[in-house]
């Protein structure tokens, strides 16, 4: 079926079978491979994207059902431009090792802040537990979220900073 996905502010027209999940549509059809496949079962969080600012597991969403604005990791900062505060914080806190879960962590972290769940390390640990990191950068991820949160508060809404 023919669908239009709005991804990082741009419309993408594509023809997909109804059973194609958003993750595979992003990776295989559109070429946005920053969104990662880690389990295909909604268990690991590596495929997290934002839809209208809400964090969503893209392996669990049929592409044809998506009507909102999708933000992927590629949409957080213009190429060559300044990084999103959360991306910058992940580098500065060394909140990643292999980097495979990182796009999902960062998008989840941005939503975590906007949800109001980044008030303390305790809270961040709890609300970031849906994103597994096998390298176990967890303490640094918590620090990155706490570092970026006040910088993000200056932005107006859940999607304004992350949509280019």
């Amino acid at each position: 079926m023919d669908i239009v996905l709005t991804i990082n502010g741009r419309p993408h027209h594509l023809s997909v079978e109804p059973r194609v999940v958003l993750l595979d549509a992003l990776r295989d059809r559109i070429g946005l491979t920053g969104t990662k496949k880690g389990c295909d079962q909604g268990q690991c969080g590596a495929c997290t994207v934002l839809i209208d600012g809400q964090r969503v597991l893209s392996c669990f969403v049929l592409a044809a059902t998506v009507t909102g604005e999708i933000t992927t990791i590629e949409g957080l900062a213009p190429e060559g431009g300044p990084l999103h505060p959360m991306q910058q914080a992940f580098i500065e806190q060394d909140a990643l090792q292999c980097g495979y879960c990182t796009p999902g962590q960062i998008l989840s972290a941005i939503a975590c802040v906007h949800e109001g769940h980044a008030g303390s390390a305790e809270e961040v640990r709890e609300y970031m537990s849906g994103n597994l990191c096998r390298c176990a950068a967890y303490p640094n991820i918590v620090q990155a979220v706490l570092q970026a949160a006040p910088q993000m508060d200056a932005t107006a809404g859940p999607t304004s900073a992350e949509t280019v």
Binding site: G99, P103, A136
Partner: protein, 759 residues
């Protein structure tokens, strides 16, 4: 040109300073391309069909429904392609289970077919519609299952020790500790799945696959397919976690290459999470019989460590961590033995700290038990048994600072507030326990090569087929080259993970940083030699007629001891207006001269710290853990961990800290969470997903402190690098178990420790 002889010492200016990852920006923006991210136009999709039984044979396939799926292209199995590939060679030697070479089924989840289709969805649907007929035999799952066979591990690759007479010493010991311990099956579960994409261009095969050893994978696939290694390119620029699982070649790669050849079109496989449990390796379950004899002061008179490890039917894979436990403490009588138990399972393989993680658990628990029995502080007990030399070979240790780690760690952790009495510390409803254990890992180094180019504008590029599996290897290579070339780190780019570059060794066994940086230093020195020779041979310029060896590169200039200098542009420009390039090989002292030739063929020439003839080389650490156990529910929490490590030169404290911390959290998961459950009747993994195979999540991890103690060890290798990838995990499981004992008085000798163990 290549410079031989010793690497000249040089004061470091960039090594040891915290440096952000140079690949950080690529990873936080999604631009880092993992192998399954690479754009391969017109690729068909593969989906594996795996065995539903653990033992028997494939009797046939009914493909009617599968072929009817729109987009279905092909089905591969033993009947049509079985003769086209040989099994991959095992890095640890010996045989392994086959896959589609024949109708034989060795284990549940074995690859028995590959469906190819135009889309991932069609391939998946068709694979589920393949009807498999099998002839099943009753399988044997694990220790204690009917039909397993046990054999003593031979002395080929791993050594057993019999120093003195341990049996007699144990019989005569005033104090004897005799206990059995168990560690469970565990799977790596890197977040990146096992993926393979293959494309042919005439005779040339390109493989995109996450790998810890691209030359090894290339050599292996060449051997499997009977083609020349030079006709294969392996690309693995980023690896989404490996932990040992992507070190050796697995069967899947050759079948995907064959599939692509049959279709005349690239083929992409992204194996599913559950398939990852059976198409690659894992950490096998182990059992241990540990006996310690001691006198009344706690001085060991005997150490006896016997281990049993599960493996597949044809493989004798084993980790034999007794090679390390025999060396931990000064005992005059030492006995070790290891047996393998063959079951109907996939072949196990390397997983983070393969020997030490399971084998240090019993030893470090037993030391804690002995300390409790004697009323001696567990750190003091270790001090009393600190060996002056390697207890089994008599060789000197290349830096052994175990007690420094314990003392510094204890001070920072607040060990002195521990009441030695078990179940004596409490905070409201929570029982508090403090435990400690030793960590150690062999300091290994392998032969490696590197190529460095330098442009007149001061931009340097390092290329080698090394691997950054999350360790920070890209960054330490840049730091090393920047240091040697006198440039800012930002002016060095690093390209790795591709057999188009000169070979580097396997990224595993805490060896990769030592292996690759020495090759990088040699390449930089060879480059400097070219520049210096040109400068001194010139009739003009500041250095005409001087001795080349006196010149060095510093801050973008070629400089002499008297501080006379010229710009890099002038110095490099004397040779080329484009760039100067140097290639170098590093064969560590004590390795055979043919090591580089073997490396090019995809073999692994590695010098292990416990096999050296000049010294015994290990890193050391002390692990401290605080557990809190709820008095009524017995819920176990770990609010605090501290590791103090002595591991030689730390090139980049930023990434090193992360790696050690990650290792410690792996240890935490290993102690309390991780276990692959096995259906005893079907010999099948039952929790083959990461919702039910529990790895630590963010909320499981509280405070983790990492101390890296300065340790110049010039003896182990010229740069003094001993490795850290495995050191962080070792001993944590025992430290947790010891803390649980301290909190409750209950000694649990089987991992993982769960609520039900403490009821």
């Amino acid at each position: 040109m290549t410079i031989q002889g010793p690497i000249r010492p040089q004061p470091f200016s960039r090594i040891g300073k915290p440096t952000p990852r140079i690949d950080g920006a690529a990873k936080v923006t999604g631009r880092a391309l993992y192998p399954s991210d690479e754009s391969v136009p017109h690729a068909a999709h593969a989906f594996l069909v795996t065995s539903p039984i653990a033992r028997g044979r494939v009797a046939g396939f009914d493909l009617g429904d599968a072929r009817a799926v729109p987009g279905f292209l092909d089905f591969l199995c033993h009947e049509n392609v079985g003769g086209q590939a040989k099994p991959p060679k095992q890095m640890a030697g010996g045989e392994t289970t086959t896959t589609m070479e024949s109708d034989r089924i060795w284990h549940d989840g074995q690859i028995i077919g590959v469906v190819l289709a135009d889309s991932f969805e069609a391939a998946r649907e068709a694979a589920f519609k393949v009807r498999i007929q099998t002839e099943a035999e009753p399988p044997s799952a694990t220790f204690g299952s009917a039909g397993t066979t046990e054999e003593q591990r031979e002395d080929e690759q791993k050594e057993d020790f019999a120093v003195g007479d341990a049996e007699m010493a144990l019989a005569a010991a005033p104090v004897m500790l005799d206990a059995w311990y168990e560690t469970p099956t565990q799977h790596h579960n890197a977040i990146e799945l096992f993926t393979t994409t293959c494309a042919w261009n005439g005779r040339q095969l390109t493989i995109w696959e996450p790998s810890q050893f691209v030359y090894g994978l290339r050599g292996n696939v060449a051997q499997q397919l009977g083609i020349e290694p030079a006709d294969i390119r392996v690309v693995s620029k980023f690896v989404g976690g490996a932990f040992g699982s992507k070190g050796g070649a697995t069967a899947r790669t050759a079948w995907i290459a064959i599939a692509a050849r049959r279709l005349g079109r690239p083929v992409k496989l992204v194996a599913t999470r559950d398939q990852g449990f059976t198409i690659a390796t894992y950490r096998a379950e182990t059992r241990h019989h540990l006996r310690l004899g001691a006198n009344g002061e706690g001085r060991l008179t005997a150490v006896s460590h016997e281990g049993w490890e599960v493996t597949s039917r044809p493989s004798f894979y084993n980790v034999s961590g007794t090679e390390t436990t025999a060396r931990m403490y000064a005992a005059p009588n030492i006995l070790t033995r290891v047996a393998v138990v063959h079951a109907d399972r996939n072949t196990p393989g390397f997983m983070r700290a393969p020997p030490e993680q399971p084998y240090m658990f019993p030893l470090e628990c037993a030391m804690d038990e002995l300390a409790a029995r004697l009323g001696i502080d567990p750190i003091e007990l270790r001090r009393r048994n600190e060996p002056a030399r390697d207890p089994v070979t008599g060789l000197a240790f290349s830096g052994r600072h175990l007690m420094t780690c314990f003392d510094r760690g204890a001070a920072e952790f607040g060990w002195n507030r521990r009441n030695a009495q078990p179940a004596s510390m409490r905070d409201g409803d929570w029982l508090v326990g403090l435990g400690c254990a030793a960590s150690t890992y062999t300091a290994n180094i392998a032969a490696s090569t590197a190529r460095v180019t330098l442009r007149p504008d001061g931009q340097a590029q390092v290329r080698l087929a090394g691997h950054d599996i999350g360790t920070g290897a890209y960054t330490v290579v840049a730091i090393t080259a920047a240091d040697r070339l006198g440039l800012p780190v930002g002016q060095v780019t690093v390209e790795m993970g591709d057999t188009e570059y000169p070979p580097a060794a396997l990224a595993a066994g805490s060896s990769h940083t030592a292996s690759i940086t020495h090759a990088v230093v040699r390449a930089c020195d060879a480059l400097l030699a070219q520049i210096a020779t040109a400068a001194t041979a010139s009739n003009a310029g500041a250095f005409a007629g001087r001795e080349p060896a006196t010149l060095s590169l510093r801050d973008g200039h070629l400089v002499a001891p008297d501080d006379s200098s010229e710009s890099l542009a002038d110095a490099v420009g004397r040779i080329s207006a484009g760039a100067v390039e140097a290639y170098a090989e590093n064969v560590p002292d004590g390795m055979p001269a043919d090591a580089i030739g073997k490396l090019y063929q995809g073999q692994l020439p590695i010098l292990r710290g416990q096999k050296r003839v000049d010294m015994t080389a290990y890193s050391f650490g002390a692990q401290f853990v605080e557990v809190r156990i709820h008095a009524r529910t017995r819920e176990i929490r770990v609010p605090r961990m501290l590791g103090a490590f002595s591991a030689g030169t730390i090139l980049n404290p930023t990434t090193a800290r992360s790696q050690l911390m990650g290792g410690m959290i792996w240890g935490l998961g290993s102690a309390l969470l991780e276990k692959t459950e096995i259906d005893q009747r079907a010999a099948r993994y039952t929790n083959d997903n990461i919702a039910e195979y529990h790895i630590a999540v963010n909320a499981d991890v509280r405070r983790v402190d990492v101390m890296m103690l300065p340790e110049p060890d010039g003896a182990v290798n010229p740069l003094g690098i001993k490795g850290i990838g495995e050191l962080g995990i070792v001993g944590v499981n025992a430290a947790v178990a010891n803390a649980v004992f301290h909190a409750t008085g209950q000694r649990v000798r089987r991992l993982p420790i769960r609520i039900e163990d403490l009821l």
